[in-house]
């Protein structure tokens, strides 16, 4: 089986099956554009990905190598977050830092499936929380001035999601109570 050699940012070399490596759109384009022969001794450098993350990415790609190629996201389709497989869920039980690194790597390497599943995981971690809890979960520094924060909070008080543009009743009350 033809293999390809990938080099992470800290110099470690990974020998990978070409098919698996081609899960990544970036690598695929690189191979095709540079016309690299398979089985060559040449190394594909990936300066934006360190070895630990690259190892995890390859692990994911190996498991998912037989997946059908995901189609382009249809913007009008509903976005679900509850369809993460159990293997993926286990795979992503990592600390925050690793999770974000994986997102960045998936973005850089253009691996749609991994990007989708990691974003969904982060979205699930945000759901239902207050801003303070979200900051704590993700170690985000609050860079608002008190005035700005107050302003954002006040604006948000007056905004609603109003899908159905209800006519003469407020969608909140009518729907919940015997609409």
């Amino acid at each position: 089986m033809p293999t390809i050699r990938l080099q992470s940012s800290d110099g470690e070399i990974f020998d990978t099956d070409v098919q698996i490596a081609k899960c990544s759109g970036t690598i695929k384009t690189m191979l095709e554009d540079l016309g690299m022969d398979e089985g060559d001794d040449e190394v594909v450098p990936l300066p934006n990905v360190n070895s630990a993350i690259l190892r995890k990415v390859l692990q994911w790609a190996t498991f998912h190598k037989d997946d059908p190629i995901p189609v382009e996201d249809d913007d009008s389709k509903e976005k679900r977050t509850d369809d993460i497989s159990s293997w993926d869920a286990d795979f992503l039980k990592v600390d925050q830092g690793t999770l974000f690194e994986l997102i960045l790597a998936a973005n850089y390497l253009d691996i749609k499936g991994l990007l989708d599943v990691t974003c969904k995981t982060v979205a699930n971690m945000i759901k239902g929380k207050t801003p303070e809890e979200i900051r704590k979960t993700f170690n985000i520094k609050n860079d608002f001035t008190p005035a700005e924060e107050e302003q954002v909070r006040k604006e948000n008080e007056w905004c609603e999601e109003n899908q159905a543009h209800a006519r003469f009743y407020r969608p909140s009350t009518r729907n919940a109570f015997r609409g």
Binding site: D82, N107, N162
Partner: protein, 702 residues
């Protein structure tokens, strides 16, 4: 990337996320997210010098959609000059506004696409609205992009005013005149249009003029709404006559009681190729003939609403399968329709297009509900309210298992429902047995060997029966002498006992949530409602078979925003405590008549449900002023509170809640008679639309 992550969140979650830091705030304001975001001011005063408008002036964001209900306009200042260029939809509902302000606002809205004015009396009482031609000229240039105009429930609308308003909107595609007093009789027209009859009347709104208007604009008009008017068959025939130039895609005729098959028939035939949305709710005189015509001719129909069309029966409903593109179907309260019709018409084969199904109050059977669950896998909304005979625990298990995309589930008043249905405890054998019955029955039909059915089924049973950790009294592998030892009835009895035992244990361990989690993992159990992770609306009003066990057993739905447990009288503190932990995003909670709710439960609610906006504690007799204090301390986002009938509270709860400026609607009163229906209308803070005028006295028919 942040934008991509945010696209997976619900808008209310994005709102919370935007308050964390600057980058996240910017990401949340991406244009794609703002499309459905509305700035809503309700019962506030619109004055640039006082909040909220004063605070909004400092905002850096755009407000593409604005809804102003019961707002009185004091000083609009430069709010609309500042934000106007990005406003695309604006709604004025029961506002106190004068013409001068309205014109000033409209001048600032060049990007406007949709204008809705709903019952703003003051505005239309000045008869010569938009009279100045120079002003109209200017407005016409500004409002060149307006495609939707809705003037619903406007009491004083006249031909003249309508003429002038439509005059400034050259690009109209949608015209909505629901609830306006349109007169359809020729006699009336002649009375008010003496003389040359060219000038549109200032005193009446006639269909004669409206039809001329539609005729002028028939190339661009795509949608019409005459709901709650006296529109009759003749009017529809006039509209039918305007095609093929008039290509209607959407037609709303809700509560138009004068209509019958004749008028609708001609209209349907005329617009058969392009009609996509048809709302004929409460047109009582419609019969199956009309429905059959709809099914045959309107092949592109996507939305069909025929709520309370009493004359419909199975005969018509059976043909619904012909509408291959149907996405939304509402046939609630059509009493003649029962399970057989639904089974044949909708649920006979797998259907991936139907997304919304409302069958409230129909006389369904359990089998039809299960068929719905099995075949309509793309459903987002399922409304089975008041189908109390049909909805059983088994049905609900099938719903939970199969309809994974469900966003709204309505099981109002389904009294047969118990904890087993929503937690799945002990339901697995019952589910499997049902499926065996099905395959067994089908096999028997094919072979046509009736007597073999029973023993054949029993032979299948032992290997399929799940391995049980329970004591061996349940399955007796000992050789049996007579068939009746493993009869179906006996197995059911034994399983029932096991199930009750599980439930009892769950209830006794109520203080230990962890073990409740483990329960559902046993192989004896089916599906818990928490599996429906996309659920946003869950209505369990009147399901008083439910107890705290339902709320404690894996009731963790992160997206749940509206929950009603009204009249579930067995719900108490333990259940509430578990629920608020599991569903932190709840914004509307109805606990009316939950007599077992205590002050402590209310404390849990307001402390943990940080996003709560509407809370009903009507007739929760145990509540005292302590609840009000808890609300005052923690209910910062609360806008509407109902504490009618709480006998032990003080007479004026509003006094204790003055520190919550957002709380604009408080319903209180210690004496609260039990009268159904009053709750609904009293709670909506907007006056109900005026009743339809009595039928005109002219008896001449044209």
């Amino acid at each position: 990337i942040l934008v991509k992550i945010f696209s997976y969140l619900a808008p209310s979650d994005r709102r919370e996320a935007s308050q964390t830091c600057r980058r996240w705030c910017e990401a949340s304001r991406h244009t794609a997210f703002l499309a459905n975001f509305w700035l809503v001011l309700h019962r506030q005063s619109f004055d640039v010098n006082i909040p909220p408008v004063r605070d909004l002036l400092h905002s850096f964001r755009h407000f593409p959609n604005v809804q102003l209900s019961e707002v009185d306009f004091e000083r609009i200042g430069n709010f609309f000059t500042q934000f106007g260029p990005h406003i695309q939809r604006i709604v004025f509902q029961a506002c106190e506004i004068q013409e001068r302000d309205m014109v000033a606002i409209l001048r600032c809205l060049p990007a406007l696409r949709s204008l809705t004015i709903s019952s703003c009396r003051d505005l239309f009482m000045c008869v010569r609205l938009f009279d100045d031609p120079a002003e109209r000229e200017h407005l016409r240039a500004v409002l060149a992009n307006v495609t939707e105009l809705s003037l619903n429930h406007v009491q004083y609308l006249s031909d003249g005013i309508l003429h002038r308003i439509v005059d400034i909107m050259p690009a109209l595609r949608v015209l909505d005149l629901a609830g306006c007093h349109i007169s359809f009789h020729q006699g009336l027209y002649r009375k008010f249009y003496t003389g040359d009859g060219k000038q549109p009347s200032e005193s009446v709104l006639t269909f004669h003029y409206i039809s001329q208007l539609i005729d002028e604009r028939k190339e661009s008009l795509r949608a019409l709404d005459f709901s709650e008017t006296l529109v009759d068959d003749n009017a529809l025939e006039v509209l039918a006559g305007m095609s093929p130039t008039l290509r209607l895609e959407r037609l709303d005729l809700n509560r138009c009681e004068q209509l019958s098959n004749r008028g609708l028939g001609s209209l349907i035939t005329a617009h058969a190729t392009h009609l996509q949305h048809l709302n004929l709710s409460k047109t009582y005189r419609l019969t199956d003939a009309c429905l059959l015509q709809i099914c045959r001719e309107l092949t592109g129909l996507r939305v069909l609403k025929m709520r309370v069309c009493r004359a419909l029966s199975n005969q018509g409903v059976r043909e619904l399968g012909q509408l291959a593109a149907l996405e939304v179907l509402d046939i609630s309260y059509c009493k003649e329709v029962n399970g057989a019709g639904i089974l044949e018409g909708i649920a006979s084969k797998p259907n991936h297009t139907l997304r919304e199904l409302r069958v409230q109050g129909l006389n369904l059977c359990e089998q039809s509900v299960i068929a719905i669950a099995e075949n309509l896998s793309a459903l987002h909304v399922l409304d089975l309210g008041y189908c109390f005979h049909a909805v059983s625990d088994l049905c609900v298990q099938f719903i939970i298992r199969n309809l994974a995309q469900l966003k709204e589930l309505d099981l109002e008043n389904c009294g047969n429902l118990s904890d087993e249905g929503l937690t799945g405890l002990g339901m697995l054998p019952k589910i499997e047995r049902h499926e065996q019955q099905h395959t067994g029955a089908r096999g028997a039909e094919r072979e046509n060997a009736q007597p073999n059915e029973r023993p054949g089924e029993e032979e299948e049973a032992p290997p399929v029966h799940p391995p049980e950790p329970e004591p061996p009294q349940v399955v007796a592998p000992a050789p049996h002498i007579r068939i009746s030892l493993r009869s179906r009835a006996e197995k059911e009895i034994v399983e029932d006992a096991e199930r009750k035992k599980l439930l009892l244990e769950a209830m006794q361990r109520k203080d230990n949530l962890q073990s409740a989690q483990n329960d559902s993992a046993t192989s004896f159990s089916g599906y818990y409602v928490g599996r429906l992770q996309q659920l946003t609306i869950l209505n369990l009003t009147g399901c008083n078979g439910l107890t705290d066990v339902t709320l404690m057993c894996n009731f963790r739905i992160a997206d749940l925003r509206q929950l009603s447990l009204a009249r579930c009288q067995q719900i108490s503190y333990d259940g509430i405590r578990a629920m608020v932990q599991g569903c932190p995003a709840v914004e509307h909670l109805d606990l009316s008549e939950c007599h077992n709710i205590s002050d402590r439960a209310v404390e849990q609610i307001v402390v943990h449900l940080r996003r709560l906006r509407t809370l009903s504690l009507r007739r929760c007799y145990q509540l005292t002023d302590f609840s009000l204090d808890h609300i005052a301390c923690h209910g910062h986002r609360l806008r509407e509170l109902d504490v009618r009938g709480c006998k032990h509270m003080c007479a004026d709860p509003a006094m204790r809640l003055v520190n919550l400026p957002l709380l604009t609607t408080i319903l209180a009163g210690r004496q609260d008679e039990i009268s159904s229906g009053a709750f609904d209308t009293a709670f909506t803070a907007i006056p109900t639309p005026p009743p339809l005028p009595p039928a005109p006295r002219l008896t001449m028919r044209f």
